[in-house]
Every structure is written in C-alpha cells, then in structure tokens.
C-alpha cells in the first residue's frame, strides 16, 4: 500500500477520532496524544498487515487501550474511556470545532498550521517537519506549546458564535490557503518525497465547505485551490522547469476539473451574494483557466476583478498582480507606474522585482531589467523560480 493511500485513510479518521475523544475527555491535549499514538501504531503496522476493514474502530481500540494505560492514575479519564467501545456515530461532524480550536487567533500562525495538520489531518510530527523543511524538534515544540496554551489560556473548544464567525473563519481560511501555497510553490515536476501539502489543503477546504455550506468564502477557497490544481500538469516542462502562464500547453489543463470548480464558484456566489477575497481570487483564476489561449485572456474582466479584490482586501501583493492586468490593458508604461510606491513594502519580494524586470524589458530598458532580475534571483529560494530567472538572464 502506498504512503499516499495510507495517509488518505488516516486523514479520513484522525480528526473524527480526536473530536470524539475531546468531547468525551474534555481535554484537548490528552485526546490528541492518544490519537497520535494510535496513528503511529497504524503507520507501523498497516503497511505489512493491510488496512483493517474498519480503520476507525481499529484506531479507537488502540487509542483506548493506550489511554487506559497512560491515564491509569487519572480515574476520571479511565472511567470515561472504559465506556467507549465503538466509534461515536458521526451525528454532527465535530471536526469543525477541532478546526476552529486549532486556528484560534491566540495561537501563532506557525502553530495554527502545525496543529491543524496534526490534529485534523492526522500528520505525524515527522511528516510536518519534512513538508516544511524544519527540524522535527521545532515542530514538536510548536505543537506542545500550542496545546499547552489551549489548556492553560482557556481557548474554548467550539465553533465561534455568529457575531465572531466572520473574523474567525478568515483565520481558518488563511491557514488552509497558506498550506496550499506552501505546497503549490515548493512542488516540482518530479514528485518530491515530502507529503503533498496541496492535497491536504484541498481536503481541508472541501471539509470546511462541506461543514459550512452557508459560507461562500469556504466554497470560494475550495474552487480557487481546484482551479490551480487543474492546471498543475502544465506548470513544469519535461525537464522539470517552471513554465510561465503565457507559454503553458493548455491542452494539459484538466478541462473537466476547471468546469466543475467554476460551477462550484458560480453557485456559491449566486446563492449567497456575499463576495469575499477568496471568491474573487477564484474568479480571476477562472478567467485565466477559461481562455483558450493566452491571447484570448479577458484582461479587462481580470482588471475589474482585481479592483474588487483590492477593495475587499487591500494589499501591496494584490496591487502588484493588478499591475500585470494593467500591462495587458493599458500597456507596460502604465503598469510600471502602478508599481511606483510598491517598492518599500515589497522590497524583499522576488516577484516584485521579476515583474518590474519584465515591464522594463518591454520598454527597452534592458540594463535596469537585468538588475531587477538579479535582485529577484537573490531573493527567491525556490529552485524552479531560480532556474527561470537564470534562463532569462542568460538570454538577455
């Protein structure tokens, strides 16, 4: 059985099991420890023994046995665990509470991400460490600290109330989106050994959209991730080099996936009429995805969407992307003017310098373009982006 398939089975059950144990024990940290322990046992034994017919019951049995062992001295837990013989019927999906607890704003972003991956998706500390290229001890420490804070600072285990929801949902969406970006940008054509974070991000977004059908931003994020993934095969050439949107072979795009994601987005937008940054970003990607060729791109529409996005969530990075749409509607000189003023906040952002280089090259200012590309090269740690910039500098 492949590692991927194993991870998928674990992911389906880990969050549910943690959720029911938290409810039962009233102790987030204790429940999480027991589930992690059961998952580690499963990852050790399933590859050889095969996945049991009822993975949830199997995991629960291991967690319970381990719990009775570890919590021997705490008669309170012990009595509760002893009552638990079969997986709780999933009447209401408790994983939503789990997600909101893991993404509480009182936790640092890094802790929110690590905790969500471990508690909701069932990743081990080692898998998280490998995916983010940080030492395992760093991840372990982050998780321990976060769990301690949940207990000691009194972070509640629940879905926030209606008046708090918009802000708190934003926090959850940001965690999932960051996870997606991390996986998407660091991925290469040859599948790396690390866990596919993109897959986890899509799974989380789908779970959230499913559990919160009244929140169009959850559907928007899911559509955004799926639209990006649908074009994944064309992002790299046979040698594993990054291919720019303009040069991508669009026959490699998954048209069916694009159509499905666009429909999901349209349906959510029409049903709720509450536009938000994720729906608008998805709409921008959909515009690109629907164009038959690069020359057919509806840049005027994309520009309108960027204006909307800036209105909903102003940010220098969005203004940078908007400048690209300006280049194709009003020309490179106007686009370069748009970049004025973005220099200070984006000084350390490789894409700012790379975009500037392209515009300068359009205007025939080659020496300045070269310097901007070199600056971009200095700033990016991503090998595929580095290779692309190096090629460009060589041709110049």
């Amino acid at each position: 059985m492949s590692e991927d398939a194993l991870a998928r089975v674990v992911r389906e059950h880990a969050g549910r099991l943690t959720a029911s144990l938290v409810s039962l024990l009233g102790d987030f940290a204790a429940a999480e420890d027991l589930v992690q322990d059961a998952i580690e046992t499963a990852l050790r034994r399933w590859p050889a023994e095969g996945v049991p017919e009822r993975p949830d019951a199997w995991l629960l049995t291991v967690a319970r046995r381990r719990g009775l062992d570890v919590l021997r001295r705490e008669s309170n837990y012990r009595a509760k665990l002893a009552r638990l013989t079969r997986p709780e019927p999933a009447a209401a999906d408790d994983r939503l509470r789990l997600i909101f607890t893991c993404c509480h704003p009182a936790l640092s972003r890094a802790a929110q991400i690590a905790l969500t991956l471990r508690v909701v998706c069932g990743l081990s500390t080692a898998q998280i460490a490998a995916a983010f290229l940080v030492p395992e001890s760093t991840v372990a420490q982050r998780i321990t600290r976060a769990k301690r804070k949940i207990g000691e600072a009194g972070i509640p285990y629940r879905v926030p109330s209606q008046e708090e929801l918009p802000g708190r949902l934003g926090e959850v969406l940001a965690v999932i989106y960051l996870l997606f970006n991390e996986g998407y940008l660091s991925s290469t054509a040859e599948r790396s050994q690390a866990r596919d974070l993109v897959d986890d991000a899509e799974w989380l977004a789908a779970l959230l959209a499913n559990l919160m059908p009244k929140e169009p931003e959850a559907a928007g994020l899911l559509a955004l991730i799926r639209l990006h993934r649908a074009r994944g095969a064309a992002r790299f050439d046979a040698e594993g080099r990054l291919v720019l949107l303009a040069d991508q072979d669009r026959s490699l795009w998954d048209r069916q996936a694009i159509e499905d994601a666009t429909r999901l987005l349209t349906r959510a937008a029409r049903a709720h009429r509450r536009p938000g940054p994720y729906q608008v970003q998805a709409a921008i990607v959909a515009c690109h995805a629907e164009a038959a060729g690069f020359a057919d791109t509806d840049w005027a529409q994309i520009l309108v969407l960027y204006d909307m996005l800036l209105h909903l969530a102003p940010s220098p990075v969005t203004r940078l992307h908007r400048a690209v749409a300006v280049r194709y509607t009003r020309g490179p000189r106007a686009a370069l003017a748009e970049l004025e003023g973005l220099g200070p906040p984006l000084q350390r952002y490789a894409l700012y310098h790379a975009t500037r280089a392209e515009l300068l090259r359009d205007l025939g200012r080659r020496e300045e373009a070269r310097r901007a590309d070199e600056r971009a090269l200095d700033l990016t740690a991503n090998p595929a982006q580095q290779a692309l910039l190096e090629r460009r500098l060589r041709w110049d």
Partner: protein, 107 residues
C-alpha cells in the same frame, strides 16, 4: 493588563478638559457594564513613579524606573472571571482606553 503607549499618553495630554472627562467617563461606563465579571481592578500611578529592585545579583540592586524601559508600559490591570479566552477577548475588544490589552490566566 492595560498597556499604554507614548502616543496614547500624548493624545490624552493634548485633550481638552471636556474630552478628557468624556474619556474617563467611557472607562467608568466600561467597568460598570462589566461589573459582574470584574472581581478586582487597579490603576497604577504613571511610570515615572516606578522603582525596581533586582534580586538576581549578589546584593539587591535598586534602580529608578520600570523593569523594562520601553515605549509601552503597564498602566493597570483588571481581574475578570470568565468562562474562556473568547469571553476575555470580547471584554478586551470593548475596552475604551489605552491601545493594548494583554490577557493572561491567573491562579
């Protein structure tokens, strides 16, 4: 814990008497509104009155000023009885005075 910034102290100083009274009244209203949750509260005198004793050397060392010299100073604290962090955050969000509030569990 209520934390004042230099900016906030300056704004308070520059206010007219009426404005200052209104600001104090808002604080008074906040305490009255949440009286059922506030078990205790203390306002500290300005930081220029602070004296610090350091006991980690061979001899106790007494210095003029707060334990950290900074642009932000603790100006008071309130002890509240709440169910969880979210309830404490709701209270803190409605605080009408100084611009920073630090929340910590107490035993």
């Amino acid at each position: 814990m209520f934390v004042e910034t230099e900016e906030f102290a300056r704004q308070l100083e520059e206010m007219g008497e009426l404005e200052q009274q209104a600001a104090y009244a808002a604080v008074g209203r906040w305490f009255a509104e949440h009286a059922d949750k506030i078990t205790h509260h203390t306002h500290l005198a300005p930081v220029h009155t602070a004296t610090t004793v350091r006991l980690d050397g061979a001899e106790p060392l007494i210095t003029d000023g707060p334990f950290v010299e900074g642009k932000e100073v603790v100006s008071g604290f309130a002890e509240v009885e709440v169910a969880d962090l979210d309830e404490a955050l709701r209270l803190a969000r409605s605080w009408p005075a100084c611009p920073i509030v630090e929340i910590r569990p107490a035993s």
